[in-house]
């Protein structure tokens, strides 16, 4: 990323006790926006995305000293962010079973509750179409369409073969096209 130190330099600084917090602040600044939007597209609401993102960075702080540099920091961070988002959504589903306040429609209803939502507008229709996708296809579509992540990196994040991810992306795009043309 432009204007930010390289990952290996940030990791080296992080291991120096007097540089640890400074290095970690740099890591957050380097990846926070990409990770935030990745999480936000999955959990929809800002408050939820903020909770997930902060919890995710705390886990990164606790695990970064043991991070092996043979893997890329970028893909490791995405992996944690994805897992944290999915865990959060799972908690929301469980809460929806026991609470009458929870939204039974899941993320689609969350989207409809967002400020400025307009089901007639194409950008909102695209978001509605993405929420109709199965969980795995939704993640694959978001990582490819919005983050433009190469399949090799995505394969490390999701621990799935590149071929399977390509097929998943193909199915996801077709479903989205179908939704937009029929709604």
């Amino acid at each position: 990323m432009q204007g930010h130190p390289e990952d290996h330099e940030l990791l080296r600084l992080f291991r120096l006790p007097d540089q640890k917090e400074k290095a970690f602040t740099s890591i957050i600044r380097k990846y926070q926006e990409k990770l935030y939007w990745h999480i936000r597209r999955l959990v929809i609401h800002h408050e939820d995305a903020n909770d997930v993102l902060q919890n995710m960075f705390i886990k990164v702080w606790n695990g970064l000293e043991n991070f092996r540099e043979d893997a890329r920091l970028y893909t490791w961070l995405y992996r944690i962010a994805t897992n944290e988002s999915l865990s959060y959504l799972e908690q929301l589903k469980k809460r929806a079973v026991t609470s009458i306040d929870a939204m039974p429609g899941g993320t689609s209803d969350s989207l409809a509750a967002e400020k400025g939502f307009d089901a007639g507008k194409l950008e909102w229709k695209l978001q509605m179409a993405i929420q109709q996708l199965p969980e795995k296809q939704r993640i694959v579509f978001n990582l490819r369409y919005y983050d433009e992540m190469p399949y090799e990196q995505m394969s490390q994040v999701l621990e799935t073969s590149a071929g399977a991810l390509k097929a998943s992306y193909h199915h996801a795009v077709k479903k989205i096209e179908d939704y937009i043309l029929n709604h």
């Binding site: 917090e21 970690f24 602040t25 957050i28 600044r29 926070q32 926006e33 935030y36 939007w37 936000r40 597209r41 929809i44 800002h46 903020n50 993102l53 902060q54 960075f57 705390i58 702080w61 967002e114 400020k115 400025g116 939502f117 507008k121 194409l122 950008e123 909102w124 695209l126 978001q127 490819r144 369409y145 919005y146 433009e148 992306y169 193909h170 795009v173 077709k174 989205i176 096209e177 937009i180 043309l181």
Partner: protein, 234 residues
Amino acid sequence: MTKRDSNITRELKAISPAVANLDPTLPYTAPTGYFDCLPDQVLGRIREMENPQQEIMGLSPLLAGLKGQTTFELPEGYFTNVSDRVIRRAIETGNQKSSPATGKLVSMSTTRNWAKLAAAAVITAVIAGSAWYFTRSSNEGAGTTRELAAGSGTVEVKDTLSVSDEALLSFLDETEALPVDDMILEDDSFNEESLAILDLNENRIQEMLEEIPDSDLQEYVSGLPEEGVSGSMN
């Protein structure tokens, strides 16, 4: 949004030209200045986690302020001598263990237990036998023995079912032998005046009847039934 990767755009167009032409800009935004504050917020939470005092300060400054205050009092110099006291007590306890025990010993002998059980069985048998005997004798005397004053002596009268005919005849003979006057005189409730009524003979009755007017006597006789009227009235 920055310029899109040409390979990805080409791939998307091949799958769906309609989706490729959509604007990928998200319709929702993050709050203004959110990303400027995020690193400090995350580091603040990490510092709180690693420092409990800072954590409680963030959660409740009131509780953090109360943490150092002790509400319980200790004897002065308690901690300076505590190790000596503990060691001395440990030595004392060790000495006590080596000496014979002075506490009460509870015998677990089975012979004594058998003796207790036998005594309890005897007492129970005595109580049960007494109860049975008492109940039986009460039932037998259900008619109860009553004493009947008769003349100068007393006669036991038992329930009619249990009194023999000889006893009844004997009782009747005794009571007939006694003069009525004697029987009455035995009773203190009678006085001289009340006894005068018993001293009646034909002359006295005649005199009493003469004192009654004939009209009253006629009226009395007319009120009596036919069969009951006998004798003459003079």
